[in-house]
Symmetry: C7
Subunit: 94 residues, 7 copies
């Protein structure tokens, strides 16, 4: 089974906290908005979204930083995913 | 009797929870926004909506993920439907 | 006496609950937003509304689904009407 | 003394309740928004308003339906008027 | 000393209540928004404001109706003025 | 050390209350919004801001009226400054 | 490990308070919005963002003033960073 995001949406899988620590990234405990490290698992086609041409810059496998409250969570085959718009992805981590 | 959605709206029928489990998709219990699996049963004509040209990407029979709070519910011939805009559909599930 | 809606507005008359039941449409009791079946009794001329060209898709006699909270109610010759924008009409029921 | 509304504004005078009853129009007691019957007494020049070309469709003498909370009230020579934008006029009553 | 309003702003001086009564204009006591009679004492140059070309329609000496809550008050040489945008002026009184 | 504002921002230094009184300008005690007299000490380059071409009309040395709540305060070399957008400057005082 | 901000975002590192004092910049204690001195450590590519062409004016090494509440914090290799949009940077300090 497969999730195909629409428009300018991407599907991400959160990277485990242990993995996060290993790679040296630790998220701050700010009460307002906690960024999170995630991996892109599916990318929408882009195109005209809300009257504007959107080019998808992200690709499957990218490690990204997102805001904790961005997007909608979904669980599939026992794995949790989040579907969000490309513009809600803050940065790529390399 | 038939529902013909206007503009960029689609009509969806929620997929039963049992069927959801069978297909391996289980929705998270997030208090903020619960996505749901649904099947498209009618698609509006698209066209110019709020000054922007909207092309309908969805078709009848598509299984889709939507936010729980998107759209308006209606019951017809004993079946509940939801009418929502195409942009409120998050992803297609295959 | 006659109501001529301006711009992209339509005037609707709610279809009686009994008639609703007969036709097989029953509205859900959702606390958030209850859709309702109505009949179009007058249609505005459309044209440029808020800087965008609006073409009227609805015509007098159409049975439509609307959100309960859309529009403004008015009583005339003992009959209640609602005046709302075409974009607040969700679907046509046939 | 004379009120000349600016841009896309019109000046209206509420039609008395008695007159309203006589003509067969009775307003509903909805707590949310009560429409009201009024007569147009002055019409602005229209033109470019907020970057959009507005053509005035209303003329002095038109009987119109408006939302109770639209516009700003002003009393002049013992008569109360309301100044509101043309887009806040819902319909013409004939 | 002189106030030169920027962009599409005008500077107004409230007309005294006595003068108001003499001219036959009395403002209503609505709790929501009280319009007021004022005289234009300075007019900005207009031009492109927020990406839109604004032509100044008001001139020094015009008597105008404004909303009580529009604009910002300033006292200069013992006289109170209000600085507001031309679009917040409702009508010219002649 | 020097502050160079970005885009359509300007840096202002509040004019002391004594100086304000001497020049005959006294600010009103309105609880909603208190305008203030300030001097421009730096001007951004203007250019395309939020998709619109902004031409800077203000220059260093201008005395201006601003809203008390506009902009962000910063203290540098013992002097307080405020950084705000040109559109938040109400008028020039000469 | 490296953070590559997307679109018109930049990554900044707050300048230590001691360093701030040494350079003569002290931030005000306003309860509403505290600006902060920071150093740019990464700059996004710019391009079309929300339908508008954005040119990046900032470069790595720039000392900038930002609002305290702008952006999202992230900790990496023991150092805290903030990711924010270029338009949320108020000024460059030289």
């Amino acid at each position: 089974m497969n999730i195909k995001p629409l428009a300018d949406r991407v599907v991400i899988k959160m990277v485990e906290a242990e993995e996060t620590t290993k790679s040296g990234i630790i998220l701050t405990g700010s009460a307002k908005e906690k960024p999170q490290v995630a991996e892109i698992v599916a990318v929408g086609p882009g195109g005209v979204v809300d009257g504007k041409e959107i080019k998808m810059e992200l690709k499957v496998g990218d490690k990204v930083l997102i805001s904790k409250y961005a997007g909608t969570e979904v669980k599939m085959d026992g794995q949790e995913y989040t579907i969000l718009r490309q513009e809600d992805v803050l940065a790529i981590v390399e």
